[in-house]
């Protein structure tokens, strides 16, 4: 199984860029988008396998972005990353069919496990 192509969507630039670099060091294709618009553009341009999405993206409701992503990426997996976790987030996660929900700060090993699992699940549905 190829390592996933990951898109990180988070307005915390320092977090997103550093994480991108670390994932690349581990063999993943990775890029970062800091706004909803950039995320939509990136998805259109490169069709990632897995999207790491921060629900608290300012400006647009994370959910709307998500619906949009879902449309463009019917077979992509979405993992939600968040600075806090409450019932509302969990409900959103289920509604948008997210693969998982992780609370920041997250252990790298935990994250890669989640990404690989998501990728494996994709492999079972739609070969690229």
């Amino acid at each position: 199984m190829n390592k996933a192509h990951v898109l990180i969507v988070d307005d915390e630039r320092e977090f997103a860029t550093t994480l991108t670099e670390r994932l690349r060091l581990r063999g993943y294709e990775a890029r970062a988008a800091f706004t909803a618009e950039a995320a939509i553009a990136a998805v259109a341009a490169s069709s990632p396998d897995v999207v790491l999405l921060d629900l608290n993206l300012p400006g647009v409701r994370g959910v709307e972005l998500l619906m949009n992503l879902r449309q463009q990426l019917p077979h992509g997996e979405i993992i939600l990353l968040s600075g806090h976790l409450d019932l509302a987030d969990k409900i959103e996660g289920v509604r948008i069919d997210a693969f998982g929900l992780l609370l920041k700060p997250v252990e790298m090993s935990e994250l890669t496990e989640k990404i690989d699992a998501a990728q494996a699940k994709r492999g079972m549905h739609a070969p690229r």
């Binding site: 320092e14 977090f15 550093t18 670390r22 600075g83 806090h84 976790l85 409450d86 019932l87 700060p105």
Partner: protein, 365 residues
């Protein structure tokens, strides 16, 4: 018009009528007859006035006494005596009614006072709970804010570690590894705190399942066996037989129990004893009492025990969140947590759980 006045008027009218009859009847009796009649009239007048006065008093006196008693009841003296019986049926009936009303009022006042006391207590409790709840919300907000920069520190330190793994030799190289680990360890500690705070504040459904309290206590003792042994402390169990099964969130409740027992272990010197008793308080409530013979908690600290970040442990040991979170969990489970302590004698923590789970939602948010 008063009773006296009525009697007098009545008497005067009767007398006037009688006098008239008398005058007519004695007309023609002559001088002597008229004098005699006048004499009789005079006697009748005197007797009549006396009788009227006496009769009037028989009614007005007890009424005045009744009025006095009523005034005293109105002032709040429910022990005000009723006037003694006079033999008059109507007065007796009125007095009986007064007594009944007075006693009813007394009972009502007592009930009211109890209710007001109760209300005051509940209000105090509510204020406390509200304070803790809003502290919880603030804590959660702060935790959320902190998680983001924490994630940045985590990733950057992590990236440095990644680079170090493949870097060649350079001056001070051997210092980098441990230093970076120091940073990531600290991040983990912060993370534990923020996750705990958020865990407390989140509005999560309670998972209800049947729980055997005695089993829970045994499990917790096993779980803390290493801490217990290391400290040299004894844990004695006194499980009640025939306890009803309680329906509640097992994991959350055991978390509270672990917190309490661990605190006791930490507080006790070597050789100390912890006694954990389970019992049914009554039909609706079960109790677990964790009693230790440790140093006890001074009154000032006792007041603040459930505040977040309140701890008497030295810096770095313990977050001061254990009891705050435990209090919140117990409330969420429909129960409560109580503490009593005597300095130099020991401390008792009592956890109370309802036998049937009552869904509790943390308000606000």
């Amino acid at each position: 018009m008063s009773i006296h006045q009525r009697f007098f008027v009545g008497f005067v009218l009767a007398l006037a009528g009688g006098a008239l009859v008398g005058v007519i009847a004695t007309a023609g009796l002559g001088q002597a007859g008229a004098s005699a009649a006048a004499g009789v009239l005079g006697v009748l007048l005197a007797a009549g006035i006396g009788a009227a006065h006496y009769l009037a008093r028989r009614i007005s006196a007890p009424l005045r006494k009744l009025e006095d008693s009523m005034h005293r009841v109105a002032e709040g003296d429910f022990m005000a005596a009723a006037p003694p019986p006079t033999g008059d049926a109507e007065i007796a009936s009125l007095t009986a009614s007064f007594i009944q009303m007075r006693d009813r009022l007394k009972d009502t006042m007592i009930s009211l006072e109890l209710a007001v006391d109760n209300l005051h207590d509940k209000q105090e409790q509510l204020v406390e709970v509200e304070k803790l709840a809003s502290l919880g919300r603030v804590a959660a907000g702060v935790a959320h804010e902190i998680n983001n920069p924490l994630a940045v520190i985590n990733e950057k330190a992590g990236l440095l570690q990644d680079f170090l793994a493949v870097a060649g030799e350079f001056k001070h190289r051997e210092r980098f590894g441990p230093l970076l680990e120091g940073i990531t360890d600290s991040v983990k500690r912060c993370r534990a705190i923020t996750h705990r705070l958020l865990g407390f504040a989140r509005r999560v459904e309670v998972t209800v399942e049947p729980l055997d309290l005695n089993d829970a206590v045994r499990r917790v003792r096993e779980y803390l066996e290493a801490d217990r042994a290391e400290k040299g402390v004894t844990i004695e169990l006194r499980p009640a037989a025939g306890l009803p099964t309680v329906h509640t969130d097992r994991v959350e409740f055991e978390q509270v129990l672990i917190n309490i027992v661990k605190n006791a272990i930490d507080a006790l010197p070597a050789g100390g004893t912890i006694v954990i008793t389970t019992r049914a308080k009554n039909q609706r409530w079960l109790q677990i009492v964790v009693a230790d013979n440790g140093p006890g908690i001074p009154a000032d600290n006792l007041k603040r025990l459930f505040e977040p970040f309140f701890t008497t442990k030295e810096k770095g040991k313990g977050t001061g969140l254990g009891l705050f979170v435990s209090h919140g969990i117990m409330k969420k489970l429909g129960g409560r947590i109580l503490v009593e302590s005597v300095v130099a004698m020991g401390t008792n923590f009592t956890l109370e759980l309802p036998v049937r789970h009552v869904a509790q939602e943390i308000s606000g948010e």
